[in-house]
Symmetry: C2
Subunit: 415 residues, 2 copies
Amino acid sequence: MNVNVEAQAIEAKKASKQLMILSKEEKNEALLHLADVLEREYESILQANEKDLANGREQGFTDAFMDRLSLSKERVQDFAQGLRDVAELEDPTGQVLTDWTLENGLQVEKVTVPLGVIGMIYEARPNVTVDATGLALKSGNAIVLKGGSSAIHSNEAIVKVIHKGLEETKMPKEAVQFIASTDRAATNELFTMKEHIDVLIPRGGGRLIQAVVENATVPVLETGVGNCHIYIDEQADVEKALNILINAKTDRPAVCNAAETLVVHKSWLKEHQDALIAALKEHNIAVHGDEHIVDTIPGAVPAGEEDWANEYLSTDLAVKAVDNLTDAIAHIETYGTKHSEAIVTEDQKAADHFFALVDAAALYHNASTRFTDGGALGFGAEIGISTQKLHARGPMGLPALTTIKFLMKGNGQIR
Amino acid sequence: MNVNVEAQAIEAKKASKQLMILSKEEKNEALLHLADVLEREYESILQANEKDLANGREQGFTDAFMDRLSLSKERVQDFAQGLRDVAELEDPTGQVLTDWTLENGLQVEKVTVPLGVIGMIYEARPNVTVDATGLALKSGNAIVLKGGSSAIHSNEAIVKVIHKGLEETKMPKEAVQFIASTDRAATNELFTMKEHIDVLIPRGGGRLIQAVVENATVPVLETGVGNCHIYIDEQADVEKALNILINAKTDRPAVCNAAETLVVHKSWLKEHQDALIAALKEHNIAVHGDEHIVDTIPGAVPAGEEDWANEYLSTDLAVKAVDNLTDAIAHIETYGTKHSEAIVTEDQKAADHFFALVDAAALYHNASTRFTDGGALGFGAEIGISTQKLHARGPMGLPALTTIKFLMKGNGQIR
């Protein structure tokens, strides 16, 4: 497929200017109309999806992967409902964050505005095509979509329907650009297109995210690798500790806010080892432990350096025994990805110390790390979970897709 | 000079953990004590400054450059006063931005926290050494300072005094690291030290900033190149227009919020050309114009592509005549640096359109661009003026040196 990525990015930039002068109502009407059109035209999407599925079967993709790739009438209806939900949300742009008047009468307003053009680089799931488009348009941004090759026919069909729908609204269809290429070079072109793209958002595995972070000169909103720890402190309540550990590890092992490592205080372990062993066994959790743990937990295999750093995304669990809170924090500092970290303790001072010193987007005292999620926190929409410190950290809602302008209104003021 | 940049960055990271558990009062006491010690020890700083000045004379630096480099007892007192002023400011950390409780009782707090370690890369002015240190410490951050080689003796002497002062406070002196090297390789090492440095802030000329933005994998707070435009619209009041133009161009031509280009509507120009010509002449402004301007303004030389993009930082002015507002906006879009842009007009619709469509940190209606400045806007302190869109845009106060943490307080909540 022959694509001109730069030409598409320029089109998106042009369209983004038109989006900036649409009213909230016009944007919402367009989203609602898109929802209707998606539902109406679902068959063309399912036909294209068949091609991707056939190709996936040929390539021997896993069942889990095929499930993520697979669309149905109901899933397309979910996409449409997602757009309707986004339309309902508060518009993140045009909000006056602060305003004041200087002594000379100059009025200053700090107002939220769209970023401009969002470059979305993502992997298998075709739902990202609709979700990201909805969030971008709601926040007044144009979007350049570069999805994974395994879903290219589905994505292309979805965008075709979106374009058809947009033609019947006040939004320019050029605001949604789809890079119809399976060529990695097309992705790489996006990395340096600073003039036309305002931010890149990679969504997918750690390798994809690293490639974007390391090579892009366009600013990046880094999302989601989570090597999350549960630290069971000396003074941990045993029931809370085990509930939280098992929930964080097994509720959805493949998501980024699942726990990957248990750090456990040796005194607590000594007292409660039978209960811990029973809980791990009951939930078929495979333990990779340090020497102390291998001696304590039957069936535990020795953990290597790679275990401490690994995001297993399975029911494997690395387990580290420590002598005190300081060593627990040091371990998390060394191997954590600054995503979500939990302490289980009845000792408020230990919890306070953990909160002050552990450097991560979300810290938990006596709760599961699984709550680091826009949905669970009530954000209404989530673009991803930022593990960076600048601009946005933790679950990102619509405000992460905005920047600000200072608007100065005068009557001739000079300095 | 033999320096180990990585070892210093690691020391800074370690010290940043100690800063995180200091109280607001302890931080302020340290700043006030530093101010006293700087005033007391000014002579050692002036002696070191003499070396830099002698070296500068030898190298034939310009008078303006020598002036920026030169210290005096009074200037050191100003540094001290600057630290006292920063101590007075509201602490940007520990602020609960929002808090809520989920239905299951999990309490969520979004709290501001220090970034960690700030890498400051700057040029001649030794005052940055004190200013940046004060802002970093106030916001609970450690700082790694890499100043320009022309001021290295002054900077080193200042940091020596700061270290001496910090030893008498609760702040670890390792929180302030000075890279005592004139070697560019030492600067480049900072670019990729993601594990130890949380943000790089370049302050200086466009070339320095570009080098950092292009080569750093550490996140950057991009500051300050300003190719600012004054657009005089068809309906501009002549007195306001000329006052604003002359102020923005001549008040301080060397700063980033000074105007570099006049974009002028041809109808306005036709009517008011005599007044404009007189004003430009009175203020010795050298005009580089397009064809229409060369035909209209006596003495104007033809402008080339480089003039439209140039940040003159002098009393040179590029002048472009346009047929309408749309062309004016297109010119600014092509050549602007997204810093500060002004429209002079009595037509409110034109001003609204300009505000909606021009993409810049600060937009002005009937006022000089010179107000894009933390001091002028009443921020109390300014780390720089951001021309990027993520994290911080426009004049940056202390909050730009913070990030957030989500703190979750539970009693056993799981999903």
